[in-house]
C-alpha cells in the first residue's frame, strides 16, 4: 500500500497567491488590509510563531501590528486593547495570541474580539454563527483541514468522517464545517471507547488530540485518509503530530505530514481571512450608513 503524502505547502502557496491578488485589488479601492496580533507572553516558541505571521503578512502585502503588552499584562489592559482594535477602522483582523498571563480570563477576553474582525474564530459568537450557517470566520486550523481535503479532492459529502478530539478551537468547529459539507461526523475523545472502534471504518480521520503517536497503522484501513492536526514538541525539540507516521505510512490511503501539513496552511488562511474581513468591512460602509439612517428615522418616527 502506497500512502499519498498530502503536503500543505502547495496549497499554502496557492492561498498566498490569492491573498496577494486580493491585496492588489483592495489597493485599487484605497484599502490596505491590516491584522493586529495581541501578545502577552514571554514564551519563545509563541513569540517565534507571531514573528512568522508577521513575516508572512509582509510577503503578502498585508499590514501586521504586533501589540506586545508584556507577560504581566492585566485583563483590564488586554480588554482595553481588544476594544480599541475593534473600534479602529484601519485594523481588519484581530488575533488574541495564547498563552495569556495567569489569572486572566481568556473566555471573557475572546468575547471582546469584534466578531467581524475575529479572523481566527476565537469569539464564541463566531462558533455559534458557524453552527447556524451565518457568515463567520472559522478557526484557521479547522478550516485548514477542510481546505487540504478539498485541495487533494478527498470527498467528504456523504462520507464518514471521524474527528479525534473535542476542543473548542479544532474538534468542535471542524465538526460543524464538515457537517455543513454533508459528511456524517463522529467526534470521539479521551473518554470514549477504543480508538479503532471509530476510526477503522472511516473514510477520513482527523486527529486533533494533542498526543504524539496516538493514531497508529492498526487503527486505520487502506481506504482511510488521515489528517494530522497535532503539534507536539519532543524533548529533543523536534515537532511531531498525533499520528505515528511510520506505521500509518504504508497502511492508510493518505496522510498529511507534520511539519508541512495542516500547520503550513494555517498562517496563509489567517491572511486570507484578513483580506476577506477588509473587503467586507470596506464594502459594508454603505449598508451601515443605511442602517444608521433607518435608526434615526425610527427614533424620529
Amino acid at each position: 500500500m502506497s500512502t499519498a503524502i498530502l503536503s500543505g505547502k502547495p496549497l499554502a502557496a496557492l492561498i498566498q497567491q490569492e491573498v496577494k491578488e486580493q491585496v492588489r485589488s483592495l489597493d485599487l479601492d484605497g484599502v490596505r488590509p491590516v491584522v493586529a496580533v495581541v501578545l502577552a507572553t514571554a514564551d519563545e516558541s509563541t513569540r517565534w510563531y507571531v514573528r512568522s505571521i508577521e513575516r508572512a503578512a509582509e510577503r503578502a502585502g498585508v499590514g501586521c501590528r504586533i501589540i506586545d503588552l508584556g507577560h504581566d499584562a492585566t485583563e483590564q489592559v488586554l480588554a482595553g486593547a481588544l476594544r480599541d482594535l475593534g473600534a479602529e477602522p484601519s485594523v481588519h483582523g484581530i488575533i488574541l495570541q495564547t498563552p495569556l498571563p495567569a489569572g486572566v480570563r481568556t473566555h471573557h477576553l475572546v468575547g471582546l474580539i469584534a466578531p467581524e474582525k475575529d479572523i481566527d474564530g476565537a469569539n464564541p459568537l463566531s462558533l455559534g454563527r458557524l453552527a447556524v450557517g451565518q457568515p463567520a470566520f472559522a478557526p484557521a486550523t479547522a478550516r485548514s483541514v477542510v481546505e487540504i481535503l478539498d485541495h487533494y479532492q478527498v470527498p467528504v459529502a456523504g462520507k464518514d468522517v471521524v474527528v479525534v478530539g473535542r476542543s473548542a478551537v479544532v474538534g468542535k468547529p471542524l465538526s460543524l464545517l464538515l457537517l455543513a459539507r454533508d459528511a456524517a461526523v463522529t467526534v470521539c475523545h479521551s473518554r470514549s471507547g477504543p480508538l479503532e472502534r471509530y476510526t477503522k471504518d472511516a473514510d477520513v480521520v482527523v486527529v486533533a488530540a494533542g498526543r504524539a503517536g496516538l493514531l497508529t497503522g492498526s487503527h486505520v484501513s487502506s481506504r482511510t485518509v488521515v489528517v494530522d492536526v497535532g503539534t507536539n514538541v519532543l524533548a529533543d525539540g523536534s515537532l511531531v503530530g498525533d499520528v505515528d507516521e511510520a506505521s500509518v505510512t504504508g497502511t492508510a490511503a493518505g496522510l498529511t505530514p507534520v511539519p508541512g501539513g495542516v500547520g503550513s496552511v494555517t498562517t496563509a488562511l489567517l491572511l486570507l481571512h484578513t483580506v476577506e474581513a477588509a473587503r467586507r468591512q470596506s464594502s459594508s460602509t454603505p449598508l451601515e450608513a443605511e442602517a444608521a439612517e433607518a435608526q434615526v428615522l425610527e427614533a424620529a418616527g
Copy 2:
C-alpha cells in the same frame, strides 16, 4: 424483548415541582420570574402551543407576557420588541416564537435576544457559549433529551450516541451537550449513508429529523435506547414522532413516546430556565454595579 417506554411525564412533574419551589424561594427575595413570548403568526397550532406555555407558567407561579405583534409584524417592530424586553428588568426570559412573518430575517432577530434572557438558546451566541463550556441556556428541546436519559439512568459517558438530524435547534446543540457529558457523538442526516450503518451498534439513538416513521425496528439492536424528538402532524390531525413505534417497540431496549415524551418535558424546562435566569439576573446586580464602577474608574484613570 420488552421495550421500556420512557415517558416524559413523571420528569416533567418533577421539574414543575422544582420550578414552584424556586419561585417560592425567589419570592422571599422579592423577585417574580417572568417569561415573555414574542408572537407574530396566525397559525393556530403555534398559538395553541403558546397558550399551553402560558397555562403552565400560571400553574407554576411564573409570570408570562404574550407580546402578540400580529401576523404582519415587520422586522423593525419585532426588533424593537426584543430590544425593549432585553432592557426591561422585570422580564427574565424571552422566547421568539416561530414561524415569523415572510420576509423577516429570523437569523438577525435571534441575535437581538439578550443572551442572559435567551432561555430557549436561540441566539447563536448561546450555542457558541455552550460549545466552549461557558454558561448559556441550551434549546429546551435539546436539554429535554439529556434530562430524560438522566432521569431513566441511561448512561451516556463513554457510550456511543447517534443523533439523526443536524438542525441548529436540536441536532447541533444536542451533540454539544452529549460531548460535554463524555459521549462519543455521531451526527448523521439525510445526505449520509444508510441509517442502520450509524444506528445499529449505537447505545443511544436520538431521532430529530422531522420525518414520520424514519427509524424502524430494523435500524436498531436490543441494547439501543431510542429518543424520539420528532413531532409530525398527520393528515388526520394526530401527532407522531420520527420513530415507527410499532416496530421499534419489541426491538429496542427503550423508547420515548410521542406524544408524552421529549415534548412534555420541554415546556417545564422553559420555565426552569426562566427561574434560573431570574436568579442569575437578580443575584448579579451587585457584580454589575461593580463592573460599571470599574469602568468609571478606568475612564477616569
